[in-house]
Amino acid sequence: MRDLIRFGFAITGAMIRGGRAYYLWVAFLCGWVALGVAAYLHQFEVGLVATNMVDQIPWGAYIANFTYLVGMAAAAVMLVIPAYVYHDHALHEVVVLGELLAVAVLTMCLMFVMVDIGRPDRFWHLMPVIGRFNWPASMLSWDVIVLNGYLVLNFYITSYLLFTKFCGREPDRRKYVPFVFLAIFWAVTIHTVTAFLYSGMGARPHWNAAILAPRFLASAFAAGPSLMIIALSIIRDKMGFPVKDAALNRLRQIVAVTMLINLFFFFSEIFTELYSFKHHAASMRYLLFGLHGHNKLVPYIWGAMALDVFAAAVFLTPKLHRNPRVLMVGCGSAVVGVWVEKGMGLVIPGFVPSPLGEVVDYTPSFTEFCVSAGIWAMGALIYTLLLKAAVPIELGKLRIAQPEAVS
């Protein structure tokens, strides 16, 4: 117990102390967070009228970001599986960093849900036992369970590993490996359940397709490891963590495959919708070409597809991805491309045309932009702080002051 308190003090100390660049970065993030908080307070006061959502477009940027981020959280398994199942040593060294990313990203997911609901004061209605949980009928109730469960799992695994390392002990495999394998299974469920939120909607033909869950996983496993590659490179450069090239290379191999699968799934969906030209293809037409003169999403989706294709090309061409800069750009393209394609590019066309045939365009309002940016900054801040403590522990620089006998 005393160790735990020391651990707490030590990581807090590590988070507080830092160089000038670190403080600047944290201050920068805090600025965005403050902006987000202010915007949210405004929204809380006036209601969701502060957003550009309307009855025809009942979900917007918040849920789009939420959907995307669930995938990013799930993508942590792309580090865990090679590390634990295939004993990839290079990845095993950085697996905790990936799991910490999942923790940060899940926190963002929950925040995006929180800011999206009309009565946040009633959040406790969502809690099992004290609230009234419509389980198992509602896919949203499943989502609450799996997201919180995944957050707890990752939080536990990373804390346990870091704590034992901090104490200078060998982690007890029985105490965490079962949870690691549970987390692998769980990661798949969080994104599958999130996909089922959409694909279960008979009212929305655009989502009502079996390909949606596989597409979600493929896109998540393309964007997530891409972000990991960027994060690990930055960690290596800025925090002096010796990330092996083999680790980055393995991740690059993964995203090369998943991005191709993602593109293939997307293409299959486009073909099925457009070739038969059924009525239900209206949403797809709206997305790709515009409908009745409404074409707000068109440039975004084509842009996203171009980014995806570019990323795939980088990942597959040795000449390109051997250059770290080009690889970074490729990874960035994958992250952004999937963000558009699976965020707004998936959520909004589901509402267009509305069930009564109405075409309403949507772009996020200023408030939505600020709140979303604030949550992203909050996520980055959380990840930064977690890394600030985790990296020295992993490197063995941050240890318990007077090592006690291993119990």
């Binding site: 006061e45 006036v46 209601g47 969701l48 009228v49 957003t51 959502m53 309307v54 009855d55 025809q56 009942p58 979900w59 849900v113 999206d116 609901i117 009309g118 009565r119 946040p120 004061d121 009633r122 959040f123 209605h125 969502l126 609230g131 009234r132 949980f133 419509n134 009928a137 509602s138 896919m139 949203l140 109730s141 609450v144 939120l197 909607m201 008979g202 009212a203 929305r204 009525h279 209206a282 589901g350 509402f351 045309p353 509305s354 069930p355 009564l356 045939g357 109405e358």
Partner: protein, 323 residues
């Protein structure tokens, strides 16, 4: 009793807070006086609690910890209804009466609409708004009358925003859409907190005090029948319908979802829904599905009826027919 008399000697000199003290004293003395004054001050306190919490619709502590409708007993309901009535009185000066009529045993409500005679006058839309206390700013309406192209039942070819001088327009027909009170309601399935459910008589209701405003039900509804209060709804006091059902037309706040309830505060008392009474052409038919002599059964048995989006297996209780 002596205290009682003393205090009553100069009642006008007492400050309000002293009056509260008086009520306490009276509890042991004159029960009658106590009730009178306590009644008045309780209303005042409730009003203060309802209005004093910043923005309208902000929950009181009591409301915050309120249980789900289905867990409330009659005593709880009475208190809650009284609180809501006080809140409305404090906010708008209108005395309303909240009731909670239960479903009638053996009654299954259904609606039928004659597309051959509906002339798109939207009288139903406005009558519904008045009956159900729908706000005009921002405008919120449960019924959406679609102007359809002759020769097509495709909503993409239709519009709700028609504004000719006179209706019906040539080469058009009109298809009003409201909540279909589905027997397999996707909205009820979607709700994560059980704030919306199907009652025994077939009406799908929302507990506005339980809804968290996630709008998953809005997403799930294939008939565009659910509405969200994006901002605090406003309604002129003189337009408030004081006869209110807890699960139907009581005043709502921002952040929750609402929808047509077949006017359950009327229909569970045996009356016709407001939209039907307002229809100038007699296109709307309402009644008990189990009444073999009722219009609804006659229509279903003898007319070619259809339901919207039957392929979704929502099993609506809202039938369209040509007659």
């Amino acid at each position: 009793m002596a205290t009682d008399t003393d205090l009553h000697a100069e009642p006008s000199a007492l400050e309000p807070h002293e009056k509260l003290a008086e009520t306490k004293l009276d509890e042991h003395g004159s029960r009658r006086t106590f009730l009178k004054i306590a009644g008045a001050s309780a209303a005042g306190v409730a009003a203060a609690a309802a209005t004093g919490c910043g923005s309208p619709g902000a929950p009181t502590t009591e409301e915050f910890f309120r249980q789900h409708y289905k867990k409330l007993n009659d005593e709880d309901k009475k208190k809650i209804f009284a609180r809501i009535e006080d809140e409305v009185r404090a906010r708008s000066g209108v005395s309303v009466h909240i009731s909670d009529p239960p479903p009638i045993e053996g009654v299954d409500f259904a609606y039928a609409l004659n597309l051959s005679v509906c002339n798109g006058s939207r009288r139903c839309v406005e009558a519904c708004a008045r009956e159900n206390n729908l706000p005009d700013d921002p405008e919120l309406r449960y019924i959406r009358v679609m102007e359809m192209e002759v020769g097509s039942l495709e909503f993409e070819e239709a519009t709700a925003y028609y504004e000719p001088e006179k209706v019906p327009e040539k080469k058009k027909f009109y298809l009003p859409v409201q909540c279909h009170q589905c027997d397999n309601p996707p909205c009820v399935k979607a709700c994560p907190v059980g704030a919306t459910w199907k009652e025994q008589d077939g009406i799908v209701v929302v507990d506005y005090s339980w809804c968290i405003g996630c709008r998953f039900c809005v997403v799930a509804c294939p008939y565009f029948a659910r509405r969200f209060n994006w901002e605090e709804p406003t309604i002129a006091p003189e337009r408030i319908n004081p006869t209110q059902g807890y699960l139907s037309n009581r005043l709502r706040h921002k952040g929750v979802v609402e929808k047509c309830t077949f006017c359950l505060h009327r229909t569970r008392a045996g009356r016709m829904p407001a939209c039907l009474e307002a229809c100038p052409t007699g296109a709307r038919k309402f009644g008990n599905l189990n009444d073999p002599e009722g219009e609804i059964r006659k229509i279903i048995d003898t007319k070619r009826v259809y339901v919207l989006k039957e392929d979704l297996a929502t099993l609506p209780r809202f039938y369209y027919y040509f007659g």
